[in-house]
Amino acid sequence: MPDLIRRLEMTSLTARVALGVAVLLVIGGVIVSIAAFAYGREAARSAFDRLLLGAAHDIASAITVQDGKPVIELPVSAFELLAFAPDDRIGYRIIGPDGTTLTGYEEIALPENRRDLRDGYFDGAFFGEPARYAIVSRRLAERTLNGTIRVIVGQTVLARNSMAYDITRKALYVLAVSGLAMILLAVVVVRSVLTPLERIAGSLSARDPHDLTPMDTDVPRETAVMINALNGFMARLDRQMNSMRHLISDTAHQLRTPVAALRAQADLFSDEVDLSRKEKIVERIQTRSAGLGRLLDQMLSQALVIHRGDSARRERVDLRDIALDVFEEGDHAVLNPEMDVVLDIGENPVEMLADAPSLKEALKNLLSNALKHGRAPVRIGASLNDGKAVIWVEDAGEGPDRQTLDELGSRFNRGGLARQASSGLGLAIAHSVAVSFDGELVLERTDRERFRAALLFEAAPVRAA
């Protein structure tokens, strides 16, 4: 059974439509055939019933009375009427007022369940063949004869049946033709529906493997969904590839200088004879390698941020938790134990959709910048401002001067990551995170003469309680 379902899922669209049309045609055909046959039977029945009734009336009106006895000269026209069913046998019986058969076939039995025997039709048999009869009464009110004469005229049902079959057959011809038309139409429709898909497939396979530009969305709405998804996917791929490329080039660039400096110090060290100088060189090598380690940390976290920004699932994050986590990890206390750090969060949740580790990374970088360059006290916090979810780091210093700020902004916009100071790299990370989650990095001086680095995001809609 699962095998069958699997096969069904893999069935081509054409086969699905063909199957659907076939089922529709078969079911419809059966229903229409039954309906046509019922209609044909009814039509034949009413048509030939009228003939019967006409003939019976014809005969009834030919009854006259002579010498107190009913006299009948059967009208040939009545039988010619019945001869419209050319191969059917004819039975008739005329019953007098006293219930005796005046003429005709006494074999024709009257239906027993009808006591009054009003005019109408009944089904019966005629010499072993099914037959249909009509009864017509004629009331005679002569001086010599008073009573009702009943005329029964019947016919076997060959002509009725053949007419019913004829009507059915013609209906089936129409059905067959329209079925054929439906199949043709289905073929045309399926082809026209599948054409865009084929075109998309064709243009995809004709594409250069490095071409990640969006595809033409000038396609039917239903396929546009697919194209949009595909374009989104390609854009993400493009972004990631670009980021990787930048990361690699940046990394190479950034590592070259400190590594070269280290090597130079090491060379100096081996050439140096003076012990006190050697000690100084070692000291310098230590500082340098510590700086290199920090740089590596930041670069890795930047890679992480870039990677997660595009690939991690976005979930509801409370920015207060991020601030709290960073605060509690207490890296700052290890790095700069002399600086005071204050946590400033409110009671209300500050929620947005993002990836928590990336945000944490960004906040850590901002915090370490503040610790390095700012003045105590440093505050970190999260809050909701005008529908924006904000997570920020403040210090009491003045921050970089305006020119530097402008330069920083333009550098982020260019997409070029900070290439010199490690502080620049921290901001670059924060900026990347902001961009990844449709937010922005704002560096500003607040009214209370403090410098604030903040990440602003669209707040998530308030969750229904």
């Binding site: 006299v71 009948i72 000269e73 059967l74 009208p75 040939v76 039988f79 010619e80 019945l82 001869a83 050319p86 191969d87 059917d88 046998r89 004819i90 039975g91 005329i94 005046l102 003429t103 005709g104 005629f126 010499f127 072993g128 063949e129």
Partner: protein
Amino acid sequence: MKTITPSLRILLTGFLVLLNCGPVAAQEMVADFGPEGAGQTLVLRSTTDIAVFGPVVETFLRARPNVRLHYEQWGSNELYRLSRSDCRSGEAGADIVISSAVHQMVQLVNEACASDYRSLLTEELPGALRWRNELWGITREPAVMVYNRDLVPQGDIPQTRFDLLDLLRPSDTRYAGRVATYDIEESGLGYLFAFADAQEASTFGALQESFGRTQAISTCCSADIIRGVAEGQYLIAYNVLGSYAQGYQQQDERIGIVLPSDYTLVLSRALMIPKEAGQKPLAEAFLDFLLSPQGTLALRTALLISPLLEAEDGNEGESLSSTALRPIGLSPALMVALDGLTRETFLRRWRATFPGP
């Protein structure tokens, strides 16, 4: 013609006692064709004179040495009664019934007494000569007027029924009492012709009235009537079967034949194969033979498919327009002719015309 072979009568006595239902239940004549002790025997009951139909039967048997055909000649009313009682009792009687009283045959078929058969040859028959694939018209015989050539002056020869009426109209007409026609009470065929006449045109009423006024003779049997005309007993005979008249004319030049040009009734003797027939395949072969070119030729030779109807340049034959030919079609409408009350009414009128002896 009512001659019965004494030996046969004895043979058949037991048989006749069994079905002694009608007042006269006896065949007029019997004959056997084909070799004695043949494997199969086909029983044919017909109203046609053995002398007329015999050659056709012989042609049929020529190719079938193993078949014997027992031919019984019956009066039409007796044949009808016998076939009907056979049918009702489910007794195997005849294998083939051929009757000129086609209305009776229609009635028998209507009462489910016939078995159906279909072949290429029967399908070729026009619809009027075929009913339900159980009854087939095998001959074409016109109802004609016969006159005595010597006694009827050229100018008096009636070409239409109106001419006949005109002849009978004068009160001192010399044709008074010298016109003969079938006694329709006795002859099923005569009744059929009279009935068909009554359906066909209003002329028949006037004719009937004229017959009554001039004391025309109604009598039985084609042969008697035609001989009466030839011998001068009657001057004109009305509604005589053309095949018999022509057959007689071939030996006796004294009679002339007229196909009424206002309309001529054309009778096709009807053949049916009874439901209870014991030799159905053989009977069907006989039917196919009659419809085949060979059988048609034999029937034509026997004058049963009348050359009168086809003769374009023949001396006797008159070319009638096809509308003047009124075939008596095999249709259930013929049942009217046999209806008890209708027949009674019709005969009452007839009796008023011919008060009888």
